[in-house]
Amino acid sequence: MGPLSAQTEPSAPEVGTARDVIIKADKAYNEKRYDEAVAGYQKFLGDFGASGEAKPLLPHVRYNLVAALMQTQKFGGAAEAIEEAQKRPEITPDKQENLSFWLGVSLMQTGDTVKAREALGQFMENFPRSRRREDAALLAATLLVTEGNKKDAATALAAIRKNPQSVHSGRAAVLELHSLIETGNDEAALELVTTEAARQDRITQLATFQALAMQLGERLLEQDKPREAIRVMQTISTQERLVEQQQRRLEEVKKRLEAIEADATPDVFERAQMRQIAREIEKELQNLQKAQGFDASVRFRMASAFHRQERYRECALLLDDMLRQMKPDTAVETASLSALQSWLAIERNDKAVETSLLFEKNFPQSKQLPLVLYLRGTAQQRADQFDEAIATFAALREKFPQSEQAPRAFFMEGFTQLLAERNEEAAATLAKFGEKHPDHELAEPANYWRGSALAFAKKFPEAREVLGAHAEKFPKGALLGAASFRQAYCAQSMKDYATAEAELKAYLAAYPDAQESNEARLLLGDALLAQAKSDEGKEIYAGIPAEAGRFHEDAQFKLAKVLKLEEDYEGLRDLMGKYLQAYPRSPRAAEALFLIGQSWRQEDQPDKAVAEYWKAIGDFGNDPEADSVEDLFIALGRLHKSDTEKHDHLAALRELRAKAEAEKQETLTVRSIWALGQAVKKSDPELSSALFREASALAKAETTNPLILADGAEAQLAGATAGDEESAGRREKAAQIYRDLLKWHPRAAQKDKALAALGRMAMEDGDRQAALDYYTRLERDIPWSTLMGEVLMTRALIESEAGNTDESAEAYTRLLAAESVPGKLKAQALLALGELEMARDRPQTAIPYYQRIYILYGKWRETVAKAYLRSGEAFEKINDLEAARKTYEELSKSEDLAALPEAQTARERLQKLGPPSGSIGPS
């Protein structure tokens, strides 16, 4: 309870009888003129208090005097008066209860805290059921806080807070939190804050409570308890919400205060309490509205806590928001940099770039800008935006040549050029770096990568020179081994096998367990064999351990190749047999078997070759994880040359199918039916299609080779040419198989086939958007596909039909640029581009397209004839009749094109145009 305002001095009471004095004092009291009442009651006590006739009136007078003094907030006098009043046993118990409580309040107000607490204690003991009991408990606890006994205060306040009936639990929570923080009892403070988080609406001094929570959070952070700090700071509202809440609260308190004051005899304690609460909230609101960076301050601390927990996403999101919402200042500058680093930590490179751009905009003069630019370049590089990264690194060293990041950016510029496969540029940049920063810590990697860049650019002698000098330049370097290896690699690439051999041997002697050592062994084997040092080479290959993975496998097959050349068929079979035993499910198992088969054939024992294949099929035919079984069937088919052999092979496949079906070997059943389809593909295409359909109908897409699925889908489509119901059903089946293929085999070689077919079907169904979606996916995922021409051509037609001329032209242009597209389609695309230009009434632009056709694609006669004719027409349109005439003449005189209708049209045109100007005419 805070200090209450002083009242004005009362006027002098009038002289009268004891009765008159009391009546007047009571009247003043009832009319809330408490100063007057006090004066009246005091006069009565002074003038008549000792008289016998006044005695019965004394209880009433003394009680009312106290009540009036309390109303006037004269607590010093009130305390004395209460002590006097309490001596009157005639005072009723309810009034005694009030007097007892008021005594505590008065003593508290006069600053006699110890006595006040004793009085309140007495009150609680004497009147345990009083409605004031909770008030007294809160006051007593508050007094403990005032006295500095915060430990006991916290205990007392906790009891009030935890009492669900207490109206003071909210106020107690604030005081308790304060006491706990002051006494360093962070654990209990944390418990309090998190418990109260769900019921903050009952805390009137919410802003104070949250400020204390922030203080606690900060301290927990200092103590390196980020998790606990987050728990605390999550309970803090935003400034806006807090203001809103407290404004609402203030309105409620004011209403309550109005109600108290409207009462005939206002409850003095409650009124004082409400006034104080209103004042506190008003003060909180003023402070809150003035406070700058309240939210930012909380968020920055939270971000810091998340950062310490390595929760970079949370950290970055918080900081990123800060730098977008807040005025740029030092704190935001630091936060921006942290946000950028956090985005990088979780590989959100796009966000990192965005944040760095914002940083540059907000803090163009910041000392951190070079670092920010460096991080931006790193993010761009990680996002494969090599050109952008190179530009960023270049800009950094140009703008901040003296910065710590400038040499790093220089190195990264070169390294990024290398990643972008701009090898010669990279070598040049890294060379310049070496010249400018010979002692920098990155000088050694720069030299190594410079040599590597030259090697990648196939400038082997230059690369060898750089790498050869590496050890001398950096005798204690970390990349000495790697440089030696790369140098030897260059010798090998230059076919200088003797040098390669010597250098690889030296390298392996010095770095037998280095990262590149097995690759070096493989190269050494190659170098030795290239010099006809067969035995030594074989020994090296054989020595590459199984743990070397791909290098071991390569070595095994290289070894097999040598054995084959040496006609050591037994050795070859032994080697490949062991390989198959060790890696039965390897994708190269079919290759191993093929080599074994070949060896038997070389020894004129084809039956044994066939038997090897059948054995492998028997072992792995029903194993869905053995990827190369389909290849075995294809290779097995090729072993049978004569008709008799082929018939026997078919019979064996049928037998296999029957056995697989009988034994319910699902995978083998599908494979054998498909293999039968493959076997009769040329001799009986219809039966082949039917078998493919059957195989695909039985196949489980997720475990079936996409080759079988694609053959099945194609066979379904082949049988769906009619417009009947059956065809529609087959078409739908084909679409489903293709969709399954895409779903379960995203890397299948048949993916483009599936996408193109689905696009085609969508087109046939009139769903152009779906078709375009499939084509877009094909263009994005398989740009090297041989179907690209068909796809781009269809796309161009769709766009053209939709009136999107630019998009159509763009598709044709991309088709022309695609390497995998056959000439015929390119010629058609050029013709279409010419037509688009003609339709736009731009004959001048159309002509070069037509000309390119007859210059570059003469093989496609029909298109060439059309191009000539349209070119002539275009010349006519621009009134270049001479050129038109020449074009028509070329067409009409071409022997290749003479039979085509365009040649006849050309002749008619020539006739119409007449002889060239200046000619004399037919002789």
Partner: protein, 299 residues
């Protein structure tokens, strides 16, 4: 417990006259008290209070043209449904909605609220036919309710239902629009949660359609984009309005689902711990606790 709740609801629904009366203020200055039990284009039907509490003295018709204003009494049935929405309250919510539906456009009526509560009960069943029905109810409230707040709630309900139905793509633009135009922080938080749910649903569909997504770089990139957008939006209430406890917990719930879906056990554990420690009173915390318990048992 559930049965008891249902009985209470039924009692409340069956005894409208036990609750306070509506007050019809007429243009001539008079007032009529009772319970509005129906209306048509020209008049309101008022059930008049009888001499015995709980019994009606009959109904009377009041021409709409004579009515200045209706002050609707508090609706205890709706409050009871609101306290515990879900399949258990479905029948009561339906009855209440059907009763109040004609008053959707009448100022101060609770019809919009009733529609939204019924929609929520339908939505919480998770059954597709009921979700479709919820869409219809929300659409009706969105178009016809007098109260803009009810219309906004209905919009959010409709969008949530669309996400539940796996049709988030259809409403993607609408949700984005909601997020960018939201002035009210609550609406902003809700729209962020809607976006997070929609992105999570889209990611789940993407992965179902591409079970070997990790082998397909474009799909992998798309999945990563959806993952990031789910996480960023789901975290928004927690990070920026942690005291909006309901929404913050919902966001963390979505995040937990995301990490469980992606198999990121470590992140899931952190989020589950946030939920159990910071929002222990939320329904999401229960699920989080179960998750943590299973993890502990496993380890």
């Amino acid at each position: 417990m559930k049965t008891r709740f249902c009985i209470i609801l039924l009692l409340l629904a069956a005894a409208p006259s036990l609750v306070a009366d509506d007050e019809v203020r007429l243009k001539d200055g008079n007032t009529r008290k009772g319970r509005i039990v129906g209306m048509d284009e020209t008049s309101f039907r008022l059930s008049l209070p009888g001499p015995v509490p709980g019994q009606s003295a009959g109904t009377t018709s009041i021409p709409r043209a004579n009515v200045e204003r209706i002050i609707f009494a508090p609706d205890r049935t709706l409050e009871a449904i609101r306290a515990n929405p879900g399949p258990g309250a479905l029948n009561t919510a339906r009855v209440r909605w059907q009763t109040l539906q004609p008053m959707l456009a009448i100022p101060e009526s609770r019809a919009g609220d009733a529609g939204n509560l019924y929609g929520e009960c339908l939505r919480l069943t998770g059954e597709s036919t009921r979700l479709e029905e919820a869409l219809g109810v929300y659409a009706e409230v969105e178009q016809g309710a007098w109260n803009p707040a009810d219309r906004e709630d209905a919009k959010r309900g409709r969008l949530r239902t669309m996400i539940d139905l796996g049709r988030s793509q259809e409403v993607a633009a609408e949700i984005e629009q909601l997020a960018t135009s939201a002035q009210d922080p609550d609406m902003l938080l809700d729209s962020k949660l809607l976006i997070a749910s929609a992105r999570l649903a889209a990611m789940q569909t993407l992965v179902a359609d591409n079970p070997r997504w990790h082998e397909d770089p474009p799909v992998r990139a798309e999945r990563l984009r959806l993952l990031n957008e789910t996480a960023d939006n789901a975290l928004y209430p927690f990070l920026f309005h942690g005291t909006a406890r309901g929404q913050a917990a919902k966001g963390l719930g979505i995040l937990l689902e995301l990490y469980q879906f992606t198999g990121d056990e470590e992140e899931a554990r952190k989020v589950a711990t946030d939920l159990t420690e910071i929002y222990s009173d939320s329904p999401e915390a229960e699920k989080a606790a179960e998750f943590l318990k299973k993890k502990t048992e496993k380890s």
